[in-house]
Every structure is written in structure tokens, then in C-alpha cells.
């Protein structure tokens, strides 16, 4: 019987259907069992095999999304490969920090998706050109560096991935599985370490959603989230501190503006708007 299973989660069935069919056909040839397409992350059950891969849209309109989706799926034994048209960068990087094994944009060929699934099945991580770009930009632009910082050789490899120098030829795929995989792991680890330090807590995230998406006042937040005014203010000042710590080039920002920036960066208003 099948020892490897793949499930796709995407709420744009009409559009993505034919694409997934192409991927599916090749996966079946390689001996994977492919479950029917699901539209919500929270409809996914426990992983049936040790090698079970969920190919998940970064921001579906309903149900868990981004890092919450990754945490939901990994808790149920799935390895997650993220797929998106064009998700906000911070949201993708947070989802990677939550344990996703790769990120691919939908303009990539079905073959790339199959390759990524193969790499992840073998216990590796997949570094697409787009994800390499996000990592490289993250290294250069924002956030305090993780310690230890990425060594020069790894940086160079990352730059090659950005330019698509590795990752197309079959030979490159082989490299991904052997030597380069160690480098990729270090690149992922550095990106994760850069995020973990100033990650918003779940409670802070709720405050950010209310203030940043709905423009709620501190009093409204206090009554809706059942906390005191002081607690709300403490959360807001932590939200501001974390934002400033992640964006050293910004000198100052009010707590409310920080909440708005966070909401944009992490795409937290996405479902708020859809609910309305």
C-alpha cells in the first residue's frame, strides 16, 4: 500500500483545480496517495503515515491561516509546504518559523511542486527562488540578526538560490538532497531564530487584530477581550516595543500605529475583512 500521502488545502478550487490535477498525476506516478482537495485547514485529520505532506494555501478565506494553519497541521503529524499567489512576506516568514518546510508561489510549474514534495518527503526542506528572496531580504533589511548569524558561504548559496542558479537542473535537485540540504537547513534555522525572539503572543495578536484592523479603542479591547485597561496598555506597549525591535531603522512609532503595521505585515486583517 501507499506509504506516503499528500493533501492539498486551497479555497480557490475552480482556479487551482487543473494545476493540482497535473501535480497529482505526477505524484501518483511516484507512488503517493493524494487525498481529495480540502478548502479549510481545520477539515484536515490526523496524518495517516509518517510521511504525510500538506500543501496548504498561506491565507485561505476561512479557518486557520498562516502560522496558525502550520501549527494546526504539524500538530496532527503533517509536514507543510506552503503555496500562495502572493502572500504578505512577514506572514510567510512567520509560517516558516512555525515549522513549514517550504514555500512556493503559484506561478511555479507543477514540476517544481512535485520536486518540493519529493525533497520534503525525504526529510529535507525546499528552498524555492521566492523563499530564498524572502530570506535574503530578511537578512539584509529588518530584524536583529540571529546568533550565530549566517556564515558567508551560506549567504552565497542563498544568493545563488535567489538568482535561480540552483534549483532547476536535475543535478541541482540531487544537490538539494545531499550537501546543499545542510546549508538550506542552516538558512531556515537562521530565519526561524530571527523571528522567534520578537514573535507576537496569541493575546497580543488578538489586540493587534482589534486595534490594527478594526481601530478599536483601548476600552473596547478591554471589554471584548475581558482584560483590564492596564493589561491592554501593557500589551500595546509590548506590541510597539517588538515592532521597533524588528525594524531598527524606524525611530519611533505610537502603539496604535505599531498595531496597524503588525496587522498589515502579518495579514491579520485578511479574515476580519472577509467576515464582514
Amino acid at each position: 500500500m501507499h506509504q506516503r500521502t499528500v493533501v492539498f488545502i486551497d479555497d480557490d478550487e475552480g482556479i487551482i483545480g487543473p494545476f493540482i490535477e497535473q501535480v497529482k498525476a505526477r505524484l501518483v506516478e511516484l507512488g503517493y496517495a493524494v487525498l481529495p482537495l480540502l478548502t479549510r485547514v481545520d477539515r484536515v485529520g490526523l496524518a495517516p503515515h509518517p510521511v504525510s505532506i500538506a500543501v496548504c494555501d498561506v491565507a485561505p478565506r476561512v479557518g486557520p491561516e498562516g502560522e496558525a494553519a502550520v501549527r494546526y497541521l504539524t500538530a496532527r503529524g503533517w509536514s507543510v509546504l506552503l503555496l500562495s499567489g502572493q502572500a504578505p512576506e512577514e506572514q510567510v516568514l512567520e509560517a516558516i518559523a512555525a515549522g513549514a518546510k517550504g514555500y512556493i508561489i503559484k506561478s511555479e510549474s507543477p514540476q517544481t511542486v512535485v520536486e518540493a514534495i519529493t525533497v520534503i518527503s525525504a526529510g529535507g526542506r525546499h528552498l524555492s527562488t521566492e523563499l530564498a528572496h524572502l530570506f535574503y531580504k530578511d537578512l539584509h533589511v529588518r530584524r536583529p540578526p540571529a546568533s550565530p548569524e549566517l556564515p558567508p558561504y551560506d549567504r552565497q548559496v542563498l544568493a545563488w538560490f535567489v538568482q535561480g542558479r540552483l534549483g532547476q537542473a536535475p543535478e541541482a535537485l540531487r544537490m538539494q538532497l545531499v550537501g546543499v540540504q545542510d546549508v538550506i537547513r542552516r538558512i531556515f534555522d537562521a530565519a526561524v531564530a530571527r523571528r522567534i525572539m520578537f514573535r507576537l503572543s496569541d493575546r497580543e495578536r488578538e489586540v493587534v487584530k482589534m486595534v490594527g484592523c478594526r481601530g478599536a479603542t483601548a476600552n473596547q479591547v478591554a471589554s471584548e477581550l475581558h482584560m483590564s485597561r492596564n493589561t491592554v496598555n501593557t500589551h500595546l506597549s509590548r506590541i510597539r516595543e517588538k515592532y521597533l525591535a524588528c525594524h531598527p531603522h524606524i525611530k519611533d512609532v505610537t502603539p496604535r500605529a505599531a498595531a496597524q503595521f503588525w496587522a498589515k505585515d502579518l495579514n491579520l486583517c485578511h479574515q476580519e475583512i472577509n467576515h464582514e
Partner: protein, 429 residues
Amino acid sequence: MGRSGVARIGARRIGLFIAVSSAALDWRRVPVLPDDVVCQTEKRLARMLAFVRPLLALFLIIPLFGWGRLAHPVLAALILCVATAESAWFVHRALTSNRDLASNRDLPCDTVRGDRLIVGVDVCASLVVMIVGSRAAAPHLRNVVMTEVVPFSLVTSVTIAFAAGLRPLAAGLVFGLAAVWSAAVAPDFTLKLGSDVLGFLLWYVVGLYIATLLRRMAYETAQAVAEQTEIQRQLDRALNRERLRRGLHDGALGTLDMLAQDPSLPPPVRHKARLGALRARNTLRAADGHDFRIEAELNQLTEMFTGHGLLLHPRFYVHGDPPAAVVEIAVAAASEALNNARKHAGEAPEVSLFVVCDRDRLEMSIRDNGVGFDRETVHWGGGLSSSFPAIKQQGGICEVASTPGEGTTVTLRWVRRASHASEDGRLHR
């Protein structure tokens, strides 16, 4: 010459006068030598003080002749006693007891130079004599008594000058002596004068405080408003970008991506769809950028080439603008390399344009996955050949690497030379 010129010259003259006169009055600027001549002079100065101090104390005997007319004659006797005792100590101190003190300095002889104790004791004695002496007579005779006190007190000024020299504390002591003298002779007048002078000073201080406070408040407010405006600008930008992203993502992008992958469509249509999706993504990337000149030019270049149908993936990491000459060469080289890729790399090549730069360095790499060429047999370059010497002149290098069947990579690297950096630094200063 304008008024400001005259004023400037006037100010310069006053400054010169102060400098010259302070040089003439400040013995502390005169170096000390461990020499016999120097020591003898120090001794003479000390003797001079030791001579005038007791001599002028004798004036305090005179008020006692008017014993019957004084309100408190005992006080007149008291100040004579104080003055006599202080003078005795003073003479002793000035003539003999300074060895320990002198041994701490570079001058191995008796001197009052820098003797704080002698200054302190003499000032205190003078103050006691003035205050107590003025109480000896009734107010209308006070002036008469104080006339005899003056000589004793004036010696204190000389003591301060000999021992303490020209320094703010010494000037303060002299001023204090004069003020106490004035208060002792004419308390009412001094009170009036003092409060008025204090008024002038206070208004000056209050004026300074208010002006500083208001100016600082204005500065801080303006700065805070500017910061808020900047934050709001960034927020608006982020909002616009998000709107753009959402519009493209939820609208065109998904459809174009899927059309591009649909095997049932003819290749030209799929290419168009792929190009459309790429251009949408490039627009989003450009909206995320900063306000650097090189970024703007590269974005323009990208737009131009994707407009001509090239599948160009821009990857810009710009943290500052290199010098204009370098930017110009880099953009020209990129343009040529992209042109070559478009013409010679084969059917629909994918090209990445990778640029990392800041003020001091630039790395650019244009890579295509086209047919490539053999450098041995093909003359390659065209317009690019002019980039090689141009970037070399700026201290950089330009390289072309290609293998048939594996595409072509053009690389350009530039790092600011140390001499350039210092020239630049000088200009900035």
C-alpha cells in the same frame, strides 16, 4: 562696511582688551621656577602683606577716642582685639609657617601663593570687623566709625590678590566684601540697590528660561509632528501596497498563473499569461521599495524589458545609492546584458536581475537560462563591451560567463576604494 562688520570689529577689540588685561593681571600664568630669585620675590611679597596687615589695624584705635559718643563702645574695643589677634596670626603665617604648603608645590620657599587658609581667615576677620564695627555707632555716626575700618578691610583685597590670584572665586570674595561693606554703612540703601540689581538679574534669568523653554517646545513639537507625518506616510504606503496586493492576488494573479500552466492552451497564450503574472508581481515588488535612485532606474528598466516580452525576475536589495557614475554604468550594463539575453538567449528565456548595493558597494548579476555561447568562437558583448573599461575606471570589474546550453551570466562588482571614501568624507564634512 556694514554695521555688522563694525560690530564684529568692536567685539574683536573688546575680546583683545580682555585677553591682554587678563594676561597682565593673572600671575598664575607666570611659570614657577625653583630659583633663588623667585623665592626672594615670594618672600618680599609675603613680607609686604605682613607689614601692611598690622599697620592698618592701628586705625581701629581711633574710634576709641570717641568712647562717650559711641552707642556701643565695647564693640569698638572688641573689633580692635579681633584685628590685633588676626594680624598677629597673619604675620606669623605669612613669614614662617608656609614650608609644608610650599613643599607641595614646585616652589621650595616661603610664599603666600595659593594659601587658601590665609585668604579665608583674613576675609572672615574683615567681615567681623565690618559688621560688628558698624554696630558700635548710632546710625548717623556709623559713617564716621566705618571710615576708620576701611583701611583694615582694604588689605584683605590685596591678600586675596596676592594669595588667590585672578579667578572667579577670588572676584566673588572681593565683591562680597564690598557688598557687606555697603550693607554695614547704609543698610537701607544697600537693600534697595540690592533688590533692584537682583531684579535685573532675575528678569534676565527668567527671560533665558522662557525663551529656552518655548524654543525647545517648538522644536520638539515640530519634530514629533514630522515623525508622526512620516509614520502616517509609511502607514498609508503600507495600506496602498496591501490594497494593490489584494487586488492583484484576489483578482488577476491567480487566473493568470493558472492560464500559464494550462497545457490545453497554445504556448503563445500561456507565455502571455505568464508574462502578465510576472509583471503584476514585479509591480508589487517595486511598490515595496525605498526612494533610492538606483532602485527607481532598475525598476524602470525591468518594466521596459518585461514590456518587450522578456521574462525578467528583478531581485533588488538596495540600502543606499552608490555614486551616480557607478549607478549609470551599472544600469547601462544591465540594459545591454538584458538586450543580449532578449536577442541571443533563445526562445522565451527566463532572466534574473540580481542587485545588492549600498553607498559603498554594488554587486549585480544578470543571469539567463538560455542557449549560452562558447566564448572561444563567438564575439559576444556588443554594447556591453564599453561597460568593461568604464567600471574598471571606477575600481570595479565586469565579467561574462557562459557555457553552451546552460545560459549566460554577466556579473558586475564595485567596492568603494579607501581614497574615494575619504574624499567623500571630506566633502560631507
